[in-house]
């Protein structure tokens, strides 16, 4: 297939599937909490809605930074789709994209001048510091497989079986990373309801639409990388089932746990990362 067509197709799939998975997550959370909940396509409809709404910009915002940062967020997740499903490139590159996402999240909040955005920005710095140890999962995968190339990792699993059985604690660490990106999760301190919508509070219309598209693609990509790296190359149906199952599990956790205090959130993430790294090194040494 033509490369451009391949990229476009994958980006559209990532956006649509990611949006519906978000909707599914909210629906499951609502049913667990004995509420009817919104329709599953609610997130998708909201995204489209923001593109036809009037855009307004706060007079306190840092221009053109405030506008450019949302477009950057979209661009980096499109880049993630190219690195992932399209070219099956380096896992290291995917994590570089994730690091950029943290920076954009941080500055989308602070560039508006809103105190809620600013608080979200400070929390994003805290949460980035906590999520960085989780990057150690990269090194564990490399030590186990001898490569950072996603395609080669899939080939490795074809010979030796899914990595989730070989390095289960690394899979747990990556799952924590996924969980921290889910709305309403115990680690979602940057978008806690105590700070309204966090870094998205002052983004309206088109800019909010960009943010929502990015979130959907980001969710799809995190699930895609988890399934590809820890379970192996799946068929499209296999990916879909895997993504639905992980989203349902995340919804269950989110529905039954409160958002943690920022300090507690970081301590839990760092502790899990520490256990994961140490445990994985012991497992790699023993087996």
């Amino acid at each position: 297939m033509n490369l451009m067509a391949d990229i476009l197709l994958n980006v559209i799939i990532a956006f649509l599937v990611g949006s519906v998975l978000f909707g599914l997550q909210r629906k499951i959370m609502a049913r667990i909490q004995m509420r009817p909940g919104p329709p599953i396509i609610q997130h998708l409809l909201h995204t489209f809605k923001f593109f036809i709404k009037e855009s307004a910009f706060p007079k306190t915002a840092a221009m053109p930074f405030y506008i450019a940062i949302t477009a950057m967020l979209c661009a980096i997740w499109v880049a993630a789709v190219i690195v992932g499903p399209v070219t099956e490139g380096s896992l290291l590159l995917f994590f570089a994209i994730y690091a950029l996402h943290k920076i954009v999240e941080h500055n989308a909040g602070s560039s508006s001048g809103s105190p809620y955005g600013k608080m979200s920005c400070v929390r994003a710095v805290f949460s980035a510091a906590a999520e960085l140890p989780l990057f150690a999962v990269l090194i564990i995968i490399y030590l186990k497989t001898g490569t950072m190339n996603i395609g080669n990792i899939v080939t490795y699993q074809g010979h030796y079986g899914p990595l989730i059985w070989g390095i289960p604690l690394a899979a747990m660490m990556f799952f924590v990373l996924i969980l921290s990106k889910a709305p309403y999760s115990p680690f979602a301190i940057t978008k806690g309801k105590d700070i309204i919508s966090g870094y998205e509070t002052e983004h309206f219309g088109l800019l909010r639409g960009y943010l929502m598209i990015s979130e959907s693609i980001a969710w799809y990509m995190l699930l895609w990388v988890f399934l590809t790296v820890f379970i192996g190359g799946l068929s499209p149906i296999g990916y879909l089932i895997g993504m639905v199952l992980i989203s349902a599990l995340v919804a269950l956790i989110n529905a039954t746990t409160p958002i943690l205090n920022p300090n507690h959130s970081i301590m839990v993430q760092v502790s899990l990362a520490f256990i994961g790294v140490l445990g994985s090194i012991i497992l790699l040494t023993v087996y």
Partner: protein, 225 residues
């Protein structure tokens, strides 16, 4: 092992005498991303930070003054260029120099702010960054002593020894301190309370990008296979 195992397709090198810059897909992406952000910082205005006041319903606006804006923008651009350099350098010593420069300008970016909490935070971070410079350069020295070279393009072909591993641990500790990530993040996060979003971006960007790059460098030095 070769560089493509970690960073994807090898694109090329830029030899500048002893200093060799190299590009894989990974390095090129990081370099380009940092440059785009640096340009964005150079052309952006700062936001007015709105804060609630105690005892009244009025808000207080905190702005960045013109003189302060100029010096902070200059330092932010220097930080961006140093970060971009750290992404593509093929020399461990150059990398440590870039990281040390990032540490210095990070303090400079917030040192112009007249807020006690922010200055306290910058002061504490400065102390950690200064202490971290010893393991940072010490690590590079150990790697030089054990391999006879600081070029990553050469080190990638040299089998790992215990001294190289020790040097890498020192290097990692140095980078962790200079960039102010966990477990040193508590001091650095307070620096972000000041207005000047574009300048704060580069502080955060430099830390995260350098951490991602050091993973590549550590895996080049310590070859598990």
């Amino acid at each position: 092992m070769d560089l493509t195992t970690l960073g994807g397709q090898f694109i090329g090198i830029i030899p500048l005498g002893d200093i060799v810059l190299y590009f894989t897909t990974f390095n090129l992406f990081m370099f380009a991303a940092v440059l785009v952000f640096t340009v964005l910082i150079a052309i952006s205005r700062t936001e007015s930070q709105v804060e609630a006041q105690f005892g009244t319903l009025k808000d207080r606006e905190k702005k960045v003054g013109k003189a302060e804006f100029k010096i902070r923008r200059f330092l932010a651009i220097v930080c961006g260029l140093a970060t971009a350099g750290a992404m593509i350098t093929g020399d461990v010593f150059d990398f440590t120099l870039f990281v040390a420069l990032i540490g210095i300008v990070n303090i400079g970016i917030v040192a112009a702010v007249k807020e006690i909490d922010v200055l306290d935070s910058a002061f504490q971070y400065g102390i950690i960054a200064m202490i971290a410079s010893l393991p940072l350069f010490g690590g590079a020295a150990f790697i030089l002593a054990s391999t006879g070279t600081l070029s990553l393009l050469e080190i990638v072909n040299i089998p790992t020894t215990t001294l190289m591993l020790f040097g890498s641990i020192l290097l990692f500790l140095g980078v962790a301190g200079e960039t102010g990530v966990a477990p040193f993040f508590a001091t650095k996060a307070e620096m972000f309370r000041t207005p000047g979003s574009p300048f704060l971006l580069i502080i955060h960007l430099s830390s995260l990008m350098v951490i991602v790059r050091i993973i590549e460098i550590l895996l080049i030095i310590n070859k598990p296979f």
